[in-house]
């Protein structure tokens, strides 16, 4: 059973559509971060993507995905960590994102992103940000779409 150390750091419910949401000035008092997102896409096609410290370089990832009919697995070098295939829809999706050792300056950062929408597609990506800088901000980006009003985003700190 998990140790009850979810400490709420930030939370946002969108009152209007937005292209991205950023958690900044993240406390360095924890070991890992957990993000819980229930984005609603403005169109029936969208991708949830993750960036650290505003950086758009040095991301790589491997993912697995399913759309209810077919399965896929890819590796990427990208400008963010994401899933590939319509994981946001006009109905709410659920994403759970773990960012490990986010403040360590002796490690590249790793993140596990999993989730999707029951309406279209789901999957999981494990990503690496090849940077030893401590993570002080996380941006959740809507690609090929925007986040609609009512989308929710929450950030937690996990103590070791």
């Amino acid at each position: 059973m998990p140790t009850p150390t979810y400490t709420p750091l930030a939370n946002l419910t969108l009152g209007s559509s937005a292209a991205s949401v950023t958690f900044s000035s993240i406390s360095q008092a924890y070991r890992d971060l957990v993000l819980v997102a229930t984005p609603i896409s403005t169109i029936n096609d969208g991708y949830l993507a993750l960036q650290f410290n505003g950086s758009s370089s040095n991301y790589s990832m491997v993912n697995m995905e399913g759309n209810g009919t077919s399965t896929y697995s890819y590796t990427y070098s990208q400008i963010w960590v994401t899933l590939n295939n319509q994981n946001m829809w006009t109905t709410p999706s659920t994403f759970l994102i773990n960012v490990m050792d986010y403040k360590q300056t002796d490690k590249h950062k790793t993140a596990l992103l999993k989730g999707g929408t029951a309406s279209q597609s789901l999957g999981a990506s494990v990503g690496r940000w090849a940077d030893t800088t401590a993570i002080t901000s996380v941006t959740l980006q809507a690609t090929s779409a925007t986040f609609a009003a009512g989308s929710t985003f929450a950030l937690y700190g996990i103590a070791a």
Binding site: P2, V21, T69, G116, A118
Partner: protein
């Protein structure tokens, strides 16, 4: 500390047809349910977990899943069902003795008046064939706050199966939009 244990249920001798959480406090924003389950179903080593909330039996539950069993990956849909399902990742009576499956269900915004969604991870261990792992996205058109949950098997849950329910409370502020 905002992750709060609400209740843990351990199945006793003779098994139980369902594990029920009732009168779920509305003091959190998200629900997390952690399972260690084994079924008494003899239909195969991989059984179903069926989840229903608020006793709702109408066809309002949809599941999209991605699974793997060590040799094949597959993806499918259970649309407009009377339960949420996970279709693999659960040990049954023909599984290796003493093996239990582990699952996690995350239900965000459970006390809201919006349609409900969920994320599921399930894995079984069989020390042989017919083990599996599943991730799933759940949705329901029901907008009522979740006040009760039932975790139902094809037959009975085996003795020593456990389920724990937690509430998680979000913070406030601290994010910007662009």
């Amino acid at each position: 500390m905002t992750m709060t244990l609400v209740s843990t249920v351990t199945v006793g001798a003779g098994g139980a047809s369902s594990i029920d959480f009732t009168s779920i406090p509305q003091t959190g924003t998200d629900l997390l349910i952690m399972f260690s389950l084994r079924s008494l179903d003899n239909g195969g080593p991989r059984d179903y977990i069926k989840v229903r909330f608020n006793g709702i039996t109408t066809s309002t539950y949809t599941v999209r899943y991605l699974e793997g069993d060590g040799s094949v990956a597959a993806s499918g849909v259970f649309a407009n069902q009377s339960y949420w399902y996970t279709n693999t990742g659960l040990n049954g009576s023909t599984s290796t003795s003493n093996t239990f499956a582990n699952s996690q269900i995350y239900l965000p915004n459970y006390s809201s008046s919006n349609a409900k969604t969920g994320s599921v991870d399930s894995v079984s261990e069989n020390n042989a064939t017919q083990a599996g792992q599943t991730i799933a996205a759940w949705s329901s058109t029901t907008t009522a706050a979740i006040t009760s949950l039932s975790i139902i098997g094809n037959t009975n849950w085996a003795q020593y199966s456990t389920a724990s329910l937690y509430t998680i409370l979000k913070g406030s502020g601290g994010a910007s939009v662009s």
